[in-house]
């Protein structure tokens, strides 16, 4: 699997650290309550198909990247910097 870093271009998967579902970008408000926080921290849609992950270009430029990836085929169709994703 190769991942295209928006800064560095296509790189080996080994340069990246996988964080998990990109829902980390939609953090609940501090006072959103225990259910919202439980949902955010633990529960996952866990789709068999298209998903959005957060990967960290650890051995490269250090950017956090949102990766559109298919969990069944491992095909990656889009990557963009997490910093540019609207919240």
């Amino acid at each position: 699997m190769r991942i295209t870093c928006p800064n560095c271009g296509e790189r080996d998967r080994r340069e990246f650290y996988y964080q998990g579902d990109a829902l980390a970008l939609t953090r609940p408000a501090p006072d959103a309550g225990p259910h919202a926080w439980d949902d955010y921290l633990h529960n996952r849609d866990n789709p068999a198909g298209d998903t959005q992950d957060l990967w960290f270009h650890e051995a490269g430029c250090g950017a956090w990247i949102v990766v559109n990836r298919n969990t069944v085929t491992h095909a990656i169709d889009d990557t963009r910097l997490a910093a540019t994703v609207k919240r």
Binding site: R14, Y18, D21, D38, R44, P47, T71, V72, T73
Partner: protein, 417 residues
């Protein structure tokens, strides 16, 4: 039909023509007392114990593929009870006891071989941690022996003891650990359940779960609607998709775990050897293939195949531990889909829907748990009360933070196990 040595000899004289299929192939009935979604090891064991322990025989097991075709036929077959934390420790201890009586109980040869399992350590700190784990195992009533370097050398002479990075200081020996023939376990439970009246229905995929007023009423399948008073979801690897049919989101991320087997060799590895520092473990199958594996690929996946970097890492670890393995040739590799929970421990619980139960989240340790999970899940489904050894496997422990079982001590969030 009972199996026996006499029967094997007799069939030898008559051209092996007396063997019959060991379970029926029934069409689904319109209604059951209980429906188990998922005909893997855990689902079949659940149905078996529902019938045997609780007299519940109007039960169907619905399997979308064929019996033995999922993770129960794709794992590295290790059976052990060397857990440390309360909650896990008593559960796996109970499960191992069921393993030890399984062949007589099922009248089926699952080739359970208690060849002993050794977890290696490579530093004083690790020795202390394993001594503590061994004491926990002994307190639980199981067996553990702390071996020093010479003790390990006696039974595993082929390891690289003087390795520069990971010199072997010793190992925690668990004599009752071992392996079993994985698909025979599925077949044995399927046969046992079928003999007690359970319908095992293959090629029957569940497409919906019927819920009315917070009570489960049955399931929709590719072979029609089936009514049921109780429904159990036991579909590790696909738990998220099936739970979604009941409107649930689970604390589970699916990951791929790879395993490897070499061509058949003469007997060389007599035990199960676990090299935790390299995330590597190995045993030798009765056919002679070296069966080994490593860690997760560490990204969510349903591909049932992994990537090359983890293959390389596993081969590196193998060469580090036992350089002789370089002469073996890998025959094939494969990947299984693991239900990974935030704390690395499983879930056996009721759900918010009356009559709907779930057994999932077995991470990469589901095989050894097959009898224990089936026994405890059947207990929960039949009585509505948690079976004591599995009482810690609550679905809500992540929400309330009580009773988390983080066996590795790495934290209770996704992607840490």
């Amino acid at each position: 039909m009972r199996y026996s040595g006499f029967r094997v000899i007799k069939e030898g004289f008559f051209g092996q023509k007396g063997w019959k299929p060991v379970w029926r192939d029934p069409d689904p009935k319109p209604e059951y007392d209980a429906v188990i979604i998922g005909g893997g090891g855990h689902g079949l064991a659940t149905a078996y114990y529902l019938a045997k322990e609780h007299g519940l025989t109007n039960v169907a097991v619905l399997e979308k593929g064929y019996i033995g075709g999922g993770n129960v036929g794709r794992n590295t077959t290790i059976v052990r009870a060397n857990y440390f934390l309360p909650g896990n420790s008593e559960f796996y201890s109970h499960s191992l006891k069921l393993w030890e009586g399984m062949e007589q109980d099922l009248n089926y040869n699952v080739m359970h071989s208690q060849r002993g399992l050794i977890n290696l350590f490579h530093s004083d700190g690790q020795r202390d941690a394993f001594a503590r784990r061994g004491n926990a195992m002994i307190n639980q009533g199981d067996d553990a022996v702390l071996l020093d370097t010479d003790g390990v050398r006696k039974i595993l002479p082929y390891l690289d003891f003087e390795n520069g990075r990971f010199p072997i200081y010793g190992g925690l020996y668990h004599p009752r650990g071992g392996t079993a023939r994985h698909d025979a376990v599925a077949w044995g439970y399927a046969r046992g359940a079928d003999q007690r009246g359970v319908d095992i229905i293959q090629n029957c995929e569940v497409t919906g779960i019927d819920i009315e007023g917070g009570v489960v009423k049955g399931v929709q399948t590719t072979r029609g609607a089936i009514k049921a008073k109780k429904v159990g979801i036991v579909v590790a690897g696909r738990s998220g998709q099936v739970a979604q049919m009941a409107g649930m989101r689970l604390p589970i991320e699916s990951h791929v775990l790879q395993a490897f087997v070499t061509e058949g060799l003469k007997p060389i590895i007599d035990h199960v050897v676990s090299f935790g520092m390299g995330h590597f473990y190995i045993s030798q199958s009765d056919k002679g293939g070296l069966v080994f594996g490593g860690d997760l690929d560490f990204y969510s996946s349903y591909a049932a195949r992994g990537n090359l970097p983890m293959k390389e890492h596993v081969m590196d670890a193998a060469m580090t531990l036992m350089p002789m393995i370089g002469k073996a040739r890998v025959l094939r590799s494969w990947g299984g889909i693991m239900d990974m929970t935030p704390d690395g421990s499983p879930i056996i619980d009721k759900t918010a829907t009356d009559g709907l139960f779930i057994d999932c989240g077995w991470c990469y340790g589901g095989f050894k748990a097959v009898p224990g999970s089936g026994f405890s899940f059947a207990h929960l489904m039949a009585t509505g009360r948690h079976h004591e050894p599995a009482a810690g496997f609550r679905l809500n422990r992540f929400r309330d933070g009580v009773g988390l079982m983080d066996e590795e001590g790495t934290g209770s969030q996704h992607n840490l196990h």
